[in-house]
Point group: C2
Chain length 230, copies 2
């Protein structure tokens, strides 16, 4: 393999969205709600909301704006329709303040010594920049679905990353905890690394599906650095 | 001023293009050429080549591709029409390997503690990523004309930076050594910082024009960090 750049899924792969969103929901909405259930319910609206954009039912809409729209529905569902706008705005920013998994910063820092490293996330640029500041993620640059006007797993996202990095796709490795993302990247010629994140959906969730077709399978980003000699 | 992000011109403002290009021209073309004159002549083609894109005479063309086209003309002009393609390709990469001015990394590192910092350059994304790796520039993200399909000083570049950073333009400060860049940024509502780089065009060049309309005028990025309390 002649890999020169690594691009990373972010939600679930680099950061722990469930704990972070639950923490902010608990802080901002009070002890009366089940914060983990709130985080799970919000996240369940993630793929359907992007799919409306992917199918052309909505024009391009940033992830912050999709999060905002699904939050409004969710607050009604949780019996909190009177939540003030200022609190809603803060809740949307919960997704900007997610903590990295314990191995993420150490692994990325090592990988950056040898490879170009970039996010390749459905999060918008401002979200990803805030998250990197918050968690100390040492991206060489932020790549986002927003730059391409398409959400993963649309092929335009993977093709766009190769175009902006000015590398043939086989010199780029997509790193993700989700098989559908890796399969879509492979279909566009990228190398793939599967990272096992059994904690992503909480302790009660079944273990995530693994990816037998990935070039590399690891349990952490430090293990990925070991594997890639970084 | 309620500035939250700083965006930076790169060629001349952050890195010393003249010494870097001359060094690579000397290394790759041999002692027979006047390497500084070669660098100056290549740079003189920079604005006219982008202007062809800005006027719509050329479709969007990356800076690497503009550099490649002007290099071919230049080698003929310098009596080196037989320069092999491999050497031409290496010469184009000279622009990816420019060294920062002595204060750049220290100043950016301090500014990044308090502000979002990003390039806002006519260089393409891959060029800016390589340059950041080469020189240790700690960008939070790379913003490039390439993302907007427009070259500075087109307004789309400054507007696009504000859109991707999701900030009102008055919360963004453009930092540059060139008055035309700052004036264009101001016209789109950004704050501006002028940085005096008398060495940019070499010891024989007249001192650069300063900018009486800038919010801040400094002689280095460390002085900018002092001024902005970072």
């Amino acid at each position: 393999m002649d890999v020169r750049a690594l691009v990373f899924d972010v939600f679930g792969t680099i950061v722990d969205w469930r704990s972070g969103v639950a923490r902010e929901a608990g802080r901002l909405l009070g002890a009366g709600i089940d914060a983990e259930a709130f985080a799970d319910a919000w996240r369940r609206r993630y793929v359907p909301s992007m799919d409306r954009v992917r199918r052309g039912e909505l024009p391009w809409t940033s992830l912050d704006d999709l999060h905002r729209a699904s939050l409004h529905e969710l607050l009604t569902e949780f019996g909190l329709p009177g939540t003030p706008d200022t609190v809603r705005a803060e809740l949307v920013l919960a997704w900007h303040r997610l903590d990295p998994w314990p191995d993420s910063v150490a692994g990325l820092t090592r990988l950056a010594q040898r490879y170009v490293i970039a996010s390749l996330s459905n999060g918008n640029v401002a979200l990803l920049v805030d998250m990197a500041k918050h968690g100390g993620l040492p991206w060489d640059t932020v790549l986002s679905a927003e730059l391409f006007g398409h959400y993963k797993p649309d092929p335009e996202v993977y093709d766009g990353a190769a175009r902006l990095l000015d590398m043939p796709p086989e010199q780029i490795m997509m790193v993700a905890a989700h098989v559908h993302d890796l399969a879509a990247a492979r279909a566009r010629g990228l190398r793939t690394a599967y990272i096992h994140r059994p904690g992503e959906k909480g302790p009660a969730a079944p273990p995530p599906e693994t990816d037998p077709d990935a070039d590399v399978s690891v349990a952490s980003l430090t293990e990925l650095a070991d594997h890639l000699g970084a």
